[in-house]
Amino acid sequence: MAKVTFEKDLCKGCGLCIAACPKKILSLSTDEINQKGHHPAQIDDQSKCIACAFCATMCPDCVITVEK
């Protein structure tokens, strides 16, 4: 079972993970603001994740951990 976790407060909301995700299951939170004042990235449907780690590969801030 693939699992993607975000260290929310490091996220700068750049969205590069969202653009990289082949399953289109990532988004920027619309209601949450992190410590840095950004809308952090989040996963909308964990069950569809294939643990390809494209999101983490493109994340400039090491926000994302991927497990399988």
Binding site: G15, H38, T57, C59
Partner: protein, 250 residues
């Protein structure tokens, strides 16, 4: 099973880079190479001047901060002082290809056994987006507001091609970090540049085409696209010299 986690050779300090700036990806690739070769304990990094000036806060190894352009000379001093150490510099295009051109060219000509990570984003980021030695013809910057006019300010400098002409240069490759495929290739190249040093082979430089969404005036995703459509055609990716595999082939 862990598929992807932050490398140990990065500290926990949050990166100061702007949202979507790919410096962060390149920092991670350097750290991954250090982890993969298990050399953090004997690695000494040289930070430069520019956006990456704070690199000394981010790498989990001994670090020294060099004056603008002088990182290859400082690295030379460190390496000559103790050749058992793994010494790398992390420099931007203004630092390496403008003010530090002499230090770059001569460290390569000497075949110093060091690793240089050259981040080319075609602009001076830290000072707010001025024309760089690698700014493209026609590129609008704060100091080329009508676009870079090659008739008055000349042409961009292609560092990999330039260094490939020197006998002292060991390995130079240009990579990019604008998509997953290119990032993975960049990871391979950076690791190879460090492995060359571990094996005592000589001078390696990896030029990494990188983005500056803030000063390019693009979204982070738009910046990746601009890199792909404008920078890669002017700065083609690939290996420009690999003396070590040439030597191995002989």
């Amino acid at each position: 099973m862990m598929v992807f986690e932050k490398p140990k050779a990065l500290t926990n300090a949050p990166l100061h880079y702007c949202p979507g700036c790919t410096h962060g990806i390149i920092h991670r690739l350097v750290a991954e190479a250090i982890d993969s070769l298990d050399i953090a304990g004997r690695t000494i990094g040289v930070a430069s001047v520019g956006c990456s000036v704070f690199a000394y806060n981010y790498f989990n190894c001994d670090m020294v901060q060099a004056a603008h352009g002088r990182a290859p000379a400082v690295a030379t001093g460190v390496k000559r002082a103790d050749p058992s150490k793994i010494v790398f510099t992390y420099q931007g295009d203004g630092d390496l290809a403008s003010i530090g051109t002499a230090e770059t060219v001569h460290s390569a000509a000497r075949g110093e056994n060091i690793t240089i990570i050259f981040v080319n984003n075609a602009i001076y980021g830290m000072t707010g987006g001025q024309m760089a030695p690698t700014s493209l013809p026609g590129q609008v910057t704060q100091t080329s507001p009508y676009g870079r006019d090659v008739n008055t300010v000349g042409y961009p400098v292609r560092i990999c091609e330039l260094l490939a002409t020197l006998d002292g240069t060991g390995y130079v490759e240009r990579v990019a970090v604008n998509n997953v495929k290119n990032v993975r290739n960049a990871k391979r190249a950076i690791e190879k540049a460090f492995r060359n040093q571990v094996e005592g082979k000589g001078f390696s430089l990896i030029e990494v085409l990188s983005t500056c969404p803030t000063n390019w005036g693009k979204t982070p995703e738009g910046a990746l696209e601009w890199l792909d459509q404008n920078m890669i055609p002017y700065y083609p990716l690939g290996v420009y010299k690999d003396k070590f595999s040439e030597e191995a082939a002989k």
